[in-house]
């Protein structure tokens, strides 16, 4: 999932607080940030790639789990976007 003008790490933290484990397409560590090189190679603009979040599904993932993620991530992204000085 990509959220334009929202930093992926903030999505990951917000979902984590709701019990949803995801990972960021970027690694904001020790002063470096690496948006997913796959997404960048696909031609995705940086303002989208910086907001990429990875979700993994397995055999035990249910439709209810997916609904819960959608119900959680949509308002979270809207809240974070509202805080941002960077507008689309």
């Amino acid at each position: 999932m990509c959220f334009r003008n929202v930093e992926s790490e903030s999505i990951v933290l917000g979902l984590d607080l709701k019990g949803i484990a995801t990972s960021a397409g970027s690694a904001c560590t020790s002063g470096s940030v690496e948006p997913s090189y796959v997404l960048v190679a696909m031609g995705l603009p940086l303002d989208w790639a910086m907001g990429s979040v990875r979700c993994s599904l397995g055999r035990s993932t249910t439709a209810e789990d997916i609904d819960y993620v959608i119900e959680s991530v949509v308002p979270l992204a809207a809240k974070l976007r509202a805080l941002s000085p960077v507008k689309a």
Partner: protein
Amino acid sequence: MEYSATLIDHFRNPRNAGMMREPDGVGEGEYEQCMDLARFYLRVRDGRVEEARFQAYGCGPTLAACSAGTEVAAGAALEELAEIREARIEEAVGGLPAERRHAAAVVARALQAAARDAMTRREVH
């Protein structure tokens, strides 16, 4: 990554978020390596910050540090805020992991810039 309860609370319930109409001072801080951006707006009365608001793009710790930064700024003298240290912001969020210390740096820089802007405007008027 482990974050303090204070940081999580500021992230969940950001204080003083959003822009301010006709502020007395505006300042930004940036951390280019991960493109974090913090912008603070100040309302000033008698040389002290009456109200501070923020907008920010960045990771959770940066957003939380901005929220805490508005509380640190409230009531501060402009001269004091213009010299605010990263350590004061880090303290206000209950500490930061080493790899997230940039959050305090971005906020300190933005608050310093906003205070200096307010001081410059005061001299002009």
